[in-house]
Every structure is written in C-alpha cells, then in structure tokens.
Symmetry: C2
Subunit: 599 residues, 2 copies
C-alpha cells in the first residue's frame, strides 16, 4: 500500500484560496487561527491518521463488525482510537470553551475530517457521528441531558448516533412510526424499530446515545408530527449507575464496503422499558435534526472526496513505478516505461485530480460561508449560499467519486481488481455516499425544488455575483481569458436551462419540472466545480508571480493550472449535452408508462 494518502500542500492551498466576494470582505473567518497554528493542527491530525487510523484501514475491512450474542464487536483498535480522539480534544474541538472546546471554525473541522477520512473512512465516522449528536444536544438538549451526556461523548467514551431510518421509512421520513408515549418530566416511553444506524452499537464504547426521531402519540401525520429524542442504550439510575434501557440490537448489516463501521438495526421498548428524553420542542424534531443533517451532508461530501483523494494517491504512486508498454513512436527495442508516461493513464490521473481537488475546494467554500454566518448572523446571504451549495457538495463528490475510484482501479489494470492493492476497497467504500444522508435523487429535488426557488431565486443571484467576483479577478491574468469566457458562457447556458425548466413548470406543473432534477443537479455541479477550478487557477497564478519560489512549489502551481485547464476542456463541455436533454423537455422519465416495464 502507498503510504501517501493525501497532499497536505494541496489541502492548505485549497483552504487559503477560497474565492468570491465574501472571501475578501471577511478575511478573518478562520477566527484567530493563523496559517502557522493551522499547519500545526493539520500535522497533528495527519500523524493521528497515519499512525492510528491508516494502519487499520485494510484490517477493518477484512474483519468487519460481528454480531454475537446480541452484541456487536468491532475492531480492537476502535476503543483506543476513540480514547485518543477524546483525550486530545478532537471530538470537542468545535465546542465552546465551557465544554473544553476551542470554538474551532467549521472550515478547519472539515479539513481535519478530510484528513482522517483519507486515512480510513470507516474509522473516521465513529467520532464524527458522536460530534454531530453532541452538537444537537448542545443546541437543543436540556441542561440535565447536556451534563449527563456531553462529557462522556466528548471524551470518546460514549457513542452518539443519528437514528432516523425505519424499515418502511428511509427517504420518506414523514412515514416513520416509532412511537413516544408521554411518561413524566420530558421523558417518554419509546416503542419502535430503527435500521441503518451508523455505529448504532459496538463494544468500542461504554454507552450509545441515539438522537432519534419518533412520533409523540396523537401527533399529526407526516413530517410535522415528528419529535427528537435522546435514547441511550443505558440510562442512569439515581446512583448514576448504568441501567438497561431496553434498546436491543437486532442485526448488523453486511455491506459492499464501509465495512469498518457497524450499521445496525435496533428494536426499542420490547419490554416497555425504553425511555427517551425529548430534545428541543415537541413536533419540531425534523427541523432540529435538519440543522445536523445539512452538516452531515457536507460531511458525506468530505468522506467521498477523501476516499477519491486516497484512491488517486494510490494510483499515482503505482503509475510512477509500474513499467509497461512504450511511447507510440518509440523503438521496439527500448525498455518499457512507467505507465504514467502514457497519455491515457495521465488522462485517468487528471480526471481523478479534477474531481477530488475540485470537490475539496467546493466543500471548503461551503465551510467558509458557514463560518462567516456563524461569526456574524447578519450575513444571511452566506447562509443562503451554503443552503444552495450543500446538495452539490454532497452529491458531486459522491457521484463523481464512483467514477473517480473506478478510474483508480483502472490505473492498476488487473491488479486493481485484486485485494492486494487498496483501490478495490476505495471503490467499494465510495459507493455508500450517493445513498446515505439523502440519495442523489433527493439532493436533486432539494436543489431544483427548494433551494433554487427559495426567496424568489435569490440564492442563484448571489451565486452569480460570487462567480463574477472570481471572473473579475481572473480576468486580470492574460492566461485565464479563455477560462473566464468559458465559465461566463456556462453561466448563460445554465440560466437558459433554468428558464426552459420554468416554462415547463408553468405549462406542465411541478411533476414535469422536477422529472429530470438529477440531470439538472449534474449540470449545475459541473458549473460549480468549474468555478472552483477558476478560483484555484487564479490563486496559483498569483503564487507563481511571487519571487523566490522553490522548484517543488512551481511544479505544484503549474500542475494546478494544468488540471484547471483539463477541467475546462474535458469536464465543462459535458454541460452541453445535459442542457440539450433538459431543454428538449421530453420528460421521458415521466411519460414512460409503468406497464411498459414488462419484458
């Protein structure tokens, strides 16, 4: 296995080269973190990734969680890993000082999670889930709940989860039927069944706290009758001792990949003795949960981007040492060359870089908007931009990551298909991301059906302004004229498509408007990533203009420019076909009668 699974240089460059007008308006969105302190934090995260997470990467896949006698056993490295992550303050990093946190901005958290996930995605989710659940308790939980749960959660001793899905309610949460019957003082008896709970139970922690959606008896049907509860595996008795809370593990799922993390089914209240603690307000559970969900979606983007990045580095490493074939015009007697010398192999490497580095840039762009808004709640435009870009930041890396890791496999030829190299695992691990935390289809409906139309389409206007700020800056460099022109043309093309879809909505209704939402998401995603590449190309040129650069830096920035041009030449043109399909408004997906799907 290659032991280089990410580029720190690229991560730092990407973090500091965010674009758009907000970047220059609020240069201090990273709070008091200086490049130097950030460097130290990232290096510490990298060391942890390299020394603790990465060595278990393959092992955790080969020995997935086992369900024995009602208990789930995970890799023996999980417990010490969580202890370190707790002790060293990684789980509490974004928390306020009163919880011994550091108020770390989201941008930096995203980078750290990226580092961990490049080292070992499955291992990285345990703490990430606890962090998310703890955040919900911090924002909506009672003081009592906070005092009981947060310290052990932030110390890595208790696991937090998000328990949403039920056997008959995955995508359509409104149909969930886990029931909560009022008991006393904000306590409810819980009765129901949940499935697909990530890290839903395991022996690497002492307790598990499920942040769970359920319906209070008598609540309205649909999404407006759902409340949020904290449901621990063990609750505490009057003496503060663990007492069984009637949460029974029913299964652990056997999966294609992402095998290091136990995805479980649980049954609640079989003995009528499962207590849940209301979090936030009655019937407002979904809106509370969505606070976390948006972040969870961004984190899915991080995971997908990280896996694609690690796969790229494995492929790069291999193509530099594997000799096979000769240049087309070489003499037959010459020796075989490293396969990175073949244009088709370089195309495969460029594609992987274009996808994974472009996705990382978008995620950190989202992080910036979130941080600006968190620092100054009057910056609602940044929040709107974040809302608009979140479905793309979730779906683009998840969908393109399938192709990107598949391309990494291809770089290895037959060996890529074998367990001897890590790429087949990356290919398997990747595939979950287009599914969990809202499938790509759901992201597409969210983008086209909600985000694009909210506040009369203001988010898109803001986005255009952001792109224009980037183009204005890029315009100053002669070398970027073509890219500016192409991006500007792509924006016009997008607007034309949106206009055509608007006409469909007027004429044929919302069903027809949304029929090909997935294609629109794909088209929109390409444009967004092109914008990100222009941001990076401009930043690279600024750096190249500086004096006294090291040779390695020059190569890095020139490489960046080259990949940017690759994206504009090889990926951006894909918008054309998508625009054509969306505008011909045939809506074949709507009109094919179900009965024709027979033979």
């Amino acid at each position: 296995m290659a032991d280089k699974f990410m580029s720190m240089k690229n991560l730092i460059f990407t973090l500091f080269s965010r674009g758009g007008k907000y970047r220059s308006l609020t240069p201090d969105y990273l709070n008091d973190h200086t490049p130097k302190s950030i460097d130290m934090v990232f290096k510490a995260a990298f060391d942890l990734g390299k020394n603790v997470l990465y060595p278990m990467f393959e092992e955790m896949d080969r020995h997935p969680p086992e369900f024995i006698d009602g208990k789930i056993h995970v890799h023996e490295g999980v417990r010490p890993m969580l202890e370190i992550l707790g002790k060293d303050g990684w789980i509490s990093a974004t928390f306020p000082e009163e919880w011994e946190g550091e108020n770390m901005p989201t941008s930096l958290l995203l980078c750290i999670n990226f580092i961990f996930a490049t080292a070992n995605y499955s291992a990285s989710v345990y703490a990430g889930l606890t962090m998310g659940a703890a955040k919900l308790l911090l924002n909506f939980g009672s003081v009592g709940l906070q005092n009981t749960c947060l310290p052990p959660m932030l110390a890595g001793k208790w696991q937090g989860t998000m328990a949403l899905t039920e056997p008959e309610a995955g995508t359509s949460l409104g149909d969930l039927c886990t029931e909560a019957i009022p008991f006393k003082d904000g306590q409810y008896k819980i009765l129901g069944e949940k499935i697909f709970i990530s890290a839903g139970d395991h022996d690497g922690v002492d307790n598990v706290v499920h942040l769970m959606l359920a319906r209070i008896k008598g609540a309205p049907v649909g999404v407006r009758g759902i409340s949020l509860f904290a449901v621990p595996k063990f609750r505490l008795d009057a003496q503060g001792e663990f007492m069984d809370n009637d949460v029974v593990v029913t299964q652990v799922f056997h999966k294609l990949g992402y095998r290091g993390a136990p995805i479980t089914g649980i049954c609640l209240g079989e003995k009528n003795n499962c207590i849940g603690y209301l979090v936030g307000k009655e019937h407002r559970g979904l809106s509370h949960m969505f606070q976390m969900m948006n972040n969870a979606r961004l984190e899915v983007g991080v995971g997908a981007t990280a896996i694609a990045t690690a796969a790229y580095h494995a492929a790069l490493d291999y193509t530099k040492v594997r000799c096979q074939g000769r240049k087309v015009i070489a003499a037959k007697e010459s020796s075989p060359i490293p396969i990175i010398g073949h244009p088709d192999v370089r195309r495969m490497l460029l594609f992987q870089r274009a996808v994974s580095e472009g996705a990382l840039a978008l995620i950190l762009q989202c992080g910036m908007y979130e941080d600006i808004f968190a620092k100054d709640p009057s910056q609602t435009d940044c929040h709107l931009l974040l809302e608009l870009l979140t479905p793309v930041a979730k779906a683009y890396p998840s969908e393109m990551g399938i192709l990107s890791t598949s391309t990494a496999v291809q770089c290895f030829g037959g060996y890529g298909y074998c367990e001897d190299f890590p790429v087949e695992q990356y290919f398997r691990d990747m595939r979950i991301h287009a599914i969990h935390e809202g499938t790509t289809g759901i992201q597409a409906m969210d983008l086209l059906g909600r985000k694009l139309v909210m506040e009369n389409g203001r988010a898109l206007i803001l986005l255009k302004q952001e792109m224009e700020a980037t183009m204005e800056l890029a315009q100053k460099h002669g070398g970027l004229t073509q890219m500016v022109q192409d991006l500007s043309g792509a924006v016009v093309s997008l607007e034309k498509t949106i206009h055509a879809l608007g006409a469909v909505a007027m004429e044929k209704g919302s069903d027809a408007y949304l029929a090909d939402a997935s294609l629109f998401l794909e088209m929109f995603g390409i444009l967004i990533i092109a914008w990100q590449w222009l941001i990076m190309a401009e930043a690279a040129l600024v750096e190249l203009d500086k004096e006294g650069l090291k040779k390695r830096d020059i190569l890095f920035y020139k490489g960046k420019l080259h990949v940017a041009r690759y994206f504009f030449s090889y990926e951006l043109p894909k918008m054309e076909g998508l625009a054509r399909t969306l505008e011909n408004s045939a809506q074949m997906t709507l009109t094919m009668p179900e009965a024709c799907f027979t033979d």
Copy 2:
C-alpha cells in the same frame, strides 16, 4: 433474490431485428435454424441457467475458490455443471459434425452465453474458456493434439485456458518472456511464469490445457517472436496415463468480484519437466491467438451486458414492490407508492435498459457479421465491419455497465449496499470487464489507431452505408423522423471530429492523434448504440403495425420505442461535449508534465 434475470422476449426480438443492408441481403445467416428451433434451444439454455447456474450465483461469491496444499478447490457445483454442459452438447455446439458439434452460428452461441451469464457470470466462464481453447486447437493444432484434447475438453472433463499474461507483461504482450526450448517433434520444454489465468486450475475437472504464448529460444524480440503452445497440467504417457507436466499453481487471486471463477498464477518448468506442444506456426502465436481474442472480446461484451441485464431485472423487480414516498402533487394523507412511480427511479430503469438492451443489440449485430462472413468468405466487408465494431462491443458494455449496475444499486437505496440483495454483487462482478481481454484504453487505441485507418478507412465507409440503410427504412415511419435526423446529425458530427483528429495527426504526429483515444471510443460508442436503438425502434413499429397482437406484445413494443426515444434524448446528446473536447485539440493528457504530478 428476483428469479427473473433476463427477458427471453427481448433476446428473441433483438436477435431477429438486426439491421443494415447485410441483414436483408443475407437473411439466412442463421443457417437452418428456424425461430422455432431457436426458441427451443434458448429455452433449454434458460432452464439450465435457472436450475443449475443461478442457484449457485450467491454461494460461489461467498465461498470463492480456495488454494490449499497446492490445489485450487472450487464450488462443488462446478464439476456437475461442466458435465451437463459437456454431455448436452453446449461446449461442442459450434464445432463441426465430426466432433459431434452442430455447426451452430456465432449469433446463437452469443445468445446462449448471454443467457448463462445473466444467470451466473462466474459459472459461465468455465465452459466458455474451454470452448475458446478448443477452437484454437481445432484451427491450428496437430491431429494428434486434437485427438487427445478435444474429446475430453468438449465433454467438460478437461478445462481449457488462455495463458497470456505475465507479471511484467499484461497489456504489452510483446514483453512476455516465458521460454520454449525445442525438445523433439513439435515438443518444447517450457520455462516461465503466468498470472491472471482464468480457470487456470481447479478440482472441477480432471485436467487443464493451457493455450499459452511463449517465446521460442532465439526468437526475435517483440510480438513477432511469440509462438502458441498447448501446455497441459497432466500429459499422457505411452499408456495414455496421466503424468505430471511440471505446471505448478502458485496462487489464486482474491478479487473484488467475479469470485466464482479461480484466477490463478502458474509456474512452468521448475523441474525442467514441462512439455508444451506447438500449436500452429512458429512465431505466429499472437496472430493465432488473436483469432480467439477477437471472439473473447465479444464474449467480454456479452458478460458485461448479461450482468447489467440481470442487475436491471433485480432492480425492476424491487422498484415495483418497494413502497416509499408519494407523487409530488399527491395529498399527504395518501399511502406511499411503489417507487417505480417516481420519475427519478424510472430514469434509472430507463438508463439501465438503454445501456443493456443497446449493448445486446450491438453484440448480435457483430454476431451477424461474423456469421455472414463464416458462411461466405467472399463477404470480406462483413469481416471489416466486425473488426471495426469489436472494440466498441467490448468496451461499451464494460464501461457503461459500471454505471448501469451502479444505478441498479441506487434503485435499492441502502439495501442496495447490503449483501441481502444481489445488486452489490453485480456491481462488483461487472468491474472486471473494462480490464480483462484488453483494457478500455487498449480498445480505444485499437479503434482509432488501427480499425479506423485500415484499408484507407474503408470500414467507416461501410458502417455509414449500414447506418444509411437503417435510416432509409426508418424514414418510412413518420414517428421516427426526429430520430433519423438526430442520427444523421450525429454521423456528420463524428466525421467532423475524425477530420479534426486527422489534422492533429498530420500536424503533431500519432502521439497527439491517439492522446484522447478513450474519449473517441466513448463518442463512437454512443453513436453506434443510437444506431442500434433506431434499428430496434423501426422493428418495433413494424411489429406494432401487425394485427391481432396480444396486449403484452403491444406493451413490449411500445416500451422499446420509448426506450429508444430515451436513448436519443438522454444519451446521444453526450456526443456533443465529447466532440467539443476532442476538437479543441488541447491534448491536455499529453502536455501535463509528469513532474507536475507531485503533491
């Protein structure tokens, strides 16, 4: 698991609706086989698939071949399966009568292999490989070799293999270094190592005959110094008894998918006691092997198409029964609907059909050209068309099959990622096809560098004539006018791209001409499959004009028409972006300096 893994109706329709002018010129290319006799043969194959191969589909994956004490143990069902395939004449079907074969045309063999591979791809390769190896012996082997090897091979008692790859020579066969030292009477001592040999050894047969490439001592370097040998695991002594032939199994590869078939490494002549028998002429091994290779490539297309087909049927089955969500405009109180009712799910089903049924049509189109040429060797144009289309028939199903099976996974949501349903296995099984028998990159070089330019580009002229014949026929139906126009425009667009690439070749040389061959292959493939869909749409309309159709038939033909329109609306436009990229002639894949691939 769904027990419907293919549509017989669709297979028969596709076989009998092949297009182009050769179809009408030579209506009898299927020899004496009538629709009725074909129906019987296919039904028998389907029963075998359903009762013998399909029940082992999951098991063979969960319990892959094991390498214990130098021997490879495969699933216990392999031996009885091969015995049935031998006894019932499936392995010898295409052989002449003197070998108890039936002279079955290639088109029908492709259909039968398709049926078997939809039931269980891994199980289907054993006999397929034996058949291919036996064909090489039939065409080039000595009478003695034929008499010794063919009867047990065709009876399913001996396994045949293709042993080409070596640790340092996969794609670049010219570098192989297995050595053959002349011994006596066409016998050679073999010394070397081979890897990635499909079914290279196992306990489901009594003996294995490797059709192996090796270099006779003193032969010229490169591909012109390679000869073909038959190297058995056991050779026969004077009494006809088995004697060890010094072929040692070194490993079985652990793979992402395709786990039911043992892919092995073997070591030859460690004790200097490995005898190989020359097959064909000295130094002509590669050209002999390529006779089989072209067919093997077509068979890879069959395998990929079959897996995509089976995955589609599993997905279709699921989406009809899984209820989740409501129509966009439905009342909230209504019940959840089967997910096939959602446009995005239908898009995913349409995409899978467009790919898998389009690919099947292309494969059978190739089968037709091969059969016409086999029947009448003066029909060299058909051979040329077959040569031109083979890289597409191999690469299109293999590449698009990755997306198609991935889409099948997506139809299942979270369940698709779990081992409870077969789609995750289809997704894994599929991934080998873009690699084995020549990677997609190799197919692309073959298409653009060889097939397009051979005989002064005559193959393309023939192809255009074939497409024109289809368009002329389609033109007669009012309903197909738009598709004819679109296909005609796509042909013009392809010619424009080829022209631009020609200019690049003149100006910058062959390196630049071939730099983006993979993109050209992708573009060309879309056009070819569009042509196939127009053929099918026309055939469906002809059928719909007939009187007295059953309701089920009407739905089938209407469905066909709908999927054809889907392909033209959703897939064909992708040519535009590819054309743009190929014509801007940036050749970014050639110009990115290797040193820039650093961080």
